[in-house]
Symmetry: C2
Subunit: 121 residues, 2 copies
Amino acid sequence: MEYSSINLQEKLSKFSEHWSPKIIAQLNDYHLKLAKVQGEFVWHDHPETDEVFIVVNGSLDILFRDGKVSLQAGEMFVVPKGVEHKPVAENECHILLIEPAGTVNTGDVKDNLTAPNDVWI
Amino acid sequence: MEYSSINLQEKLSKFSEHWSPKIIAQLNDYHLKLAKVQGEFVWHDHPETDEVFIVVNGSLDILFRDGKVSLQAGEMFVVPKGVEHKPVAENECHILLIEPAGTVNTGDVKDNLTAPNDVWI
């Protein structure tokens, strides 16, 4: 039988809201999630886990209390667990996140940007 | 300070050998690895873990005992743990693998394609 691939652009075409990661695959107890982001997110950290950001389309800055990293499409960064960070995108940017299943986008911070952590597309 | 992004194409420019994954990042106890592949790999499975394949450049077929999946650049697949698979690429293909640190490319199979599992670039 022919199994189906997971096409990132096709999955991205299925939603439009910002800062609301959608699960596209599971690797053991980790999720791979696509998100569309624009503007400034909230300062937060993930005390229990590292978090992978891979930029698929556009560009993203991740601010830290002591600096920042600038990512273009085809670039990635691992935010270490417990490190406060604030993603910022001047224009709409599409990212692939990899983190343990159940990770909340705003970490321990409750904010109006806090999104469900269990939505598959 | 300005932190450094990890650029996939720049990392790919640093090696040329086939079927020899290179670690580019660590996420908790998982590794993200780039590999260049061409031709037929060996049938194997990973009894303890799922394995993510993301095609960065080119195209890849992953054969299973009961079928296959065809992946183009920008497409991905998760091979479930314990499922025998055989990656095949007619032309050189560049892939990003995500799997637990220490995973061996040929699983439990010893083959002349078995590669070191601890090489960073």
